[in-house]
Amino acid sequence: MQRMIRRRDHEVPALNTSSLPDLIFTVLFFFMIVTHMRDVELKVRYEVPQGTELQKLGHKSAVSYIYVGRAQGAAAATGDMQIQLNDKLSTVDDIKHYLEQERARMTTEDQARMTVSIKADGNTPMGQIADIKHALQQSFALKINYSATEK
């Protein structure tokens, strides 16, 4: 009888959590590998078009981005399409300077395969895109990429 009671007094052993850090570290490493740091703060809102024949962009270090979309904030509803380079809103004339900066940042190897990815909203008028393309041509940034999402 004594024994029975004593047995009931036994505490439930605590859950062994010693492997929990390892588990979380695994998840952490997974995320570190598959994602990349968000390098710019977006000042424009855009929704890229959808396509079917898309290709992945290789060599992240050789890619420069041009964002085109409506400015965030007050003028969002009515605002014209704006161009964003790096962290600030810019105009077409700034593209030349921006590309020079980007070139200076890259290694010679990357300069050869420099690609400009245009992330533009689907509603942007083509006139603006044509101006951007013209500016890119003038700066000899001839490899471009129309950013899109899979349909």
């Binding site: 994602t35 968000r38 290709q55 992945k56 890619v63 085109v68 083509m126 393309k133």
Partner: protein
């Protein structure tokens, strides 16, 4: 005796309860600062800049040109007649391939190509794109997408026929050979105001 007892005591295990919390913090930090989006898109090559005054006029035979226009209401016209984006892919494909050597479709020239030997190459055709400054970028993109889709379909067919696998699985040399048979020849006009 007492001293002896003390030295024999086991070292307490390192308390690792907080390691989980620390790594959780790291995990959350990475989740917040990084973005999952793998950048995908339609790669294109721009022509080198030209003197606008001295833009050379290239005379191309009428049969070699497929004229695509997008007006300010995003209406697509192929060679003057209205069409939808679905039709475009088919039209481009028949135009570039010209399998029956139709006199109304582009000429071909016979060239020596790796892997294929002497073969007919569709290197005279030109797809001419004319947009309006008010055309939406989305419509333009859909057009580009349809054109690329048509080229990809042709290249895939050729790869399947000759190499028995898809274009994506071809080696660099094989791709180059296929690209010689079906080169992408797209000419973009200045947008109309």
């Amino acid at each position: 005796m007492l001293l002896n007892n003390r030295t024999r005591r086991k070292m307490p295990g390192l308390n690792t309860t907080s390691t989980a919390d620390i790594s959780f913090m790291l995990l959350i930090f990475f989740l917040v600062t990084s973005s999952m989006d793998t950048d995908k898109g339609l790669p294109r090559q721009l022509p080198p800049p030209q003197d606008e005054q001295h833009e050379q006029e290239l005379t191309v035979k009428e049969r070699n040109v497929l004229e695509l226009r997008l007006d300010d209401h995003n209406q697509l016209t192929i060679g003057g007649e209205a069409a939808s984006f679905d039709q475009l892919e088919q039209r481009v494909e028949t135009f570039v391939a010209n399998t029956a050597n139709d006199a109304a479709l582009p000429e071909k020239s016979t060239r020596e190509v790796n892997y294929f030997g002497q073969c007919q190459v569709s290197d005279r055709h030109v797809i001419s794109i004319q947009v309006d400054r008010h055309t939406s970028y989305d419509a333009y993109f859909q057009m580009q997408n349809a054109i690329v889709a048509a080229y990809n379909r042709l290249r895939n067919q050729l790869a399947q026929q000759h190499f028995g696998h898809s274009y994506a699985q071809c080696s660099a040399d094989e791709r180059e050979a296929i690209n010689m048979v079906y080169p992408q020849r797209i000419s973009e006009q200045q947008p109309t105001p």
